[in-house]
């Protein structure tokens, strides 16, 4: 494989470089590269032998080998024997397919390794090219521009004034019967008879509902007033029953 004098150096290199390999595929790629041919033309059998050779020597030097290196070694040993077997005894996938797959993987890893090297070799910022050491920097200050107009201004002022102006309240003129007129009316009607009368009978017959309500309230208060004066008496048979009223005979006790 290698001239004897370099074999010695190679095993040292292996010893020194074990940490450097990124797994068995990486080691295989490294070995394949030493065949100094295009990866497409590599001899898989030779590669297998080289790998197994390295692993053996590493074992002889009592180096701790990570399990995946040994797994790869076992697999390669199997691949080698399969490649050497007569074709008719081969299983599916064929060892040639396995070998091809390995070769394709090595090509891909090789391509990426090379790409990485070329990438790292580019003119890199901070190493080969430099940015401006002390840029002034760009700043964008936000500034608010306020907008308003005359109408908004005087409208606002008008509203302030309106809000705080002294207020005068007007109560709209509603149809009512005042207490005085109810008193007069009830007294007059009570004067006509001594019989009990319902308080509803005192209401003006053709009044609007609003006026009737007012008249009812006023007439009730007037009835109470007359009872208090001792000129009438009130009677109700039950809660919400019709309220009745009649004139007290003069001199009778309240």
């Amino acid at each position: 494989m290698f001239p004897p004098e370099s074999a010695r150096a190679d095993s040292d290199a292996l010893y020194l470089a074990l940490d450097g390999w990124e797994g068995p595929l990486d080691l295989l790629l490294d070995l394949a590269r030493r065949q100094k041919v295009d990866l497409r033309q590599i001899s898989i059998l030779a590669l297998v032998d080289q790998y197994l050779g390295y692993i053996e020597r590493a074992g002889a030097l009592k180096l701790e080998l990570a399990a995946d290196y040994l797994v790869m070694a076992a697999w390669l040993a199997y691949l080698k024997s399969a490649l050497l077997l007569p074709k008719e005894e081969q299983e599916d996938p064929s060892p040639e397919e396995l070998a091809l797959r390995l070769q394709l993987r090595l090509q891909r890893l090789g391509a990426m390794r090379e790409a990485a090297a070329r990438l790292m070799g580019r003119d890199r910022i901070g190493r080969d090219v430099f940015l401006r050491g002390a840029p002034e920097g760009l700043r964008t200050d936000r500034k608010t521009v306020w907008r308003s107009d005359m109408f908004a201004l005087i409208q606002a002022y008008g509203q302030v004034k309106a809000r705080t102006a002294p207020r005068i309240y007007h109560v709209a003129n509603r149809p009512v019967m005042t207490l005085d007129s109810a008193l007069e009316r009830v007294s007059a009607m009570l004067g006509v008879t001594l019989e009990w009368m319902e308080i509803r009978d005192f209401l003006p017959p053709h009044a609007s509902p609003e006026l009737k309500r007012s008249a009812l309230a006023s007439s009730f208060v007037a009835a109470l007033e007359l009872a208090k004066r001792g000129t009438a008496e009130l009677d109700q048979e039950g809660t919400f029953a019709p309220l009745r009223i009649r004139r007290l005979k003069a001199g009778a006790a309240a």
Binding site: F130, L131, R132, G133, A134, E136, G137, L138, R139, T140, D141, R142, K143, T144, V145, W146, R147, S148, D149, M150, F151, A152, L153, I154, Q155, A156, Y157, G158, Q159, V160, K161, A162, R163, T164, A165, R167
Partner: protein, 218 residues
């Protein structure tokens, strides 16, 4: 073209560009591998005249050289982004009160408005350049009093404050009609009820912050 830069010129150019601090002629000469200061000086002078018409200049300050933005382009470094916002309802009221009553103290503004005025409202008016502090009132506590500025007249298209419509004119225009206000209140969200208030609802909400909600019909 005669202006193909020389090697030393390019080297000085790149070095000053990348330098974190201005560099003296001696520092440049040393950095570039022990050149004669005179050579560096010459390269600097060629560079300086190359950049004289450009957007960046090569300048010497206190014996040290550096690149900087051309002075006439300094405005590009600090760009102002203008954002137009409509004055909030609360701020408009305060502004109107100041305009009609100036000079007024904050307490006076509040007593006229009938609601508390947040500090931010006056700040906004001062930021807008329409209101300025105009001394102090010589009463206990010596409160700051505020007045409008010439910018205020400008923005609102007024020759002078006398051009502001008087109370009678406001009344004639229906602007003092309490019915408006009652209706507005009925429609809810006093601060929002502004036919001109197009985009800035959010602003108003920020500014008013409940302030205007504080009053109701007594």
């Amino acid at each position: 073209m005669s202006d193909q830069p020389g090697t030393l010129e390019r080297a000085v150019e790149a070095t000053l560009f990348a330098a974190e601090e201005p560099m003296s002629v001696e520092a440049l000469a040393a950095h570039l591998g022990g050149l004669e200061p005179a050579e560096v000086r010459e390269a600097l002078s060629v560079l300086q005249s190359h950049y004289i018409a450009r957007g960046i200049h090569l300048v010497e300050r206190g014996g040290r050289w550096h690149f900087e933005t051309a002075p006439d382009l300094a405005h590009l470094l600090r760009r102002e982004k203008e954002q137009v916002r409509r004055l909030s309802r609360a701020a408009t009221e305060v502004l109107a009160i100041i305009a009609y009553h100036e000079p007024v103290s904050r307490a006076e503004i509040e007593s006229i408005r009938g609601v508390q005025t947040s500090a931010g409202t006056l700040d906004v008016l001062m930021e807008a350049g329409w209101v300025r502090p105009a001394g102090r009132r010589e009463v206990p506590g010596r409160p700051v009093i505020y007045a409008t500025t010439p910018d205020f007249l400008d923005h609102f298209g007024l020759e002078s404050r006398r051009d502001l419509p008087g109370i009678d004119e406001l009344r004639a225009a229906g602007l003092l009609d309490p019915v408006d206000e009652a209706m507005e209140a009925a429609m809810g969200g006093m601060g929002r009820f502004d036919p001109d208030d197009d985009a800035d609802d959010a602003t108003d909400a920020d500014e008013d912050d409940g302030e205007d909600e504080g009053f109701a019909l007594p």
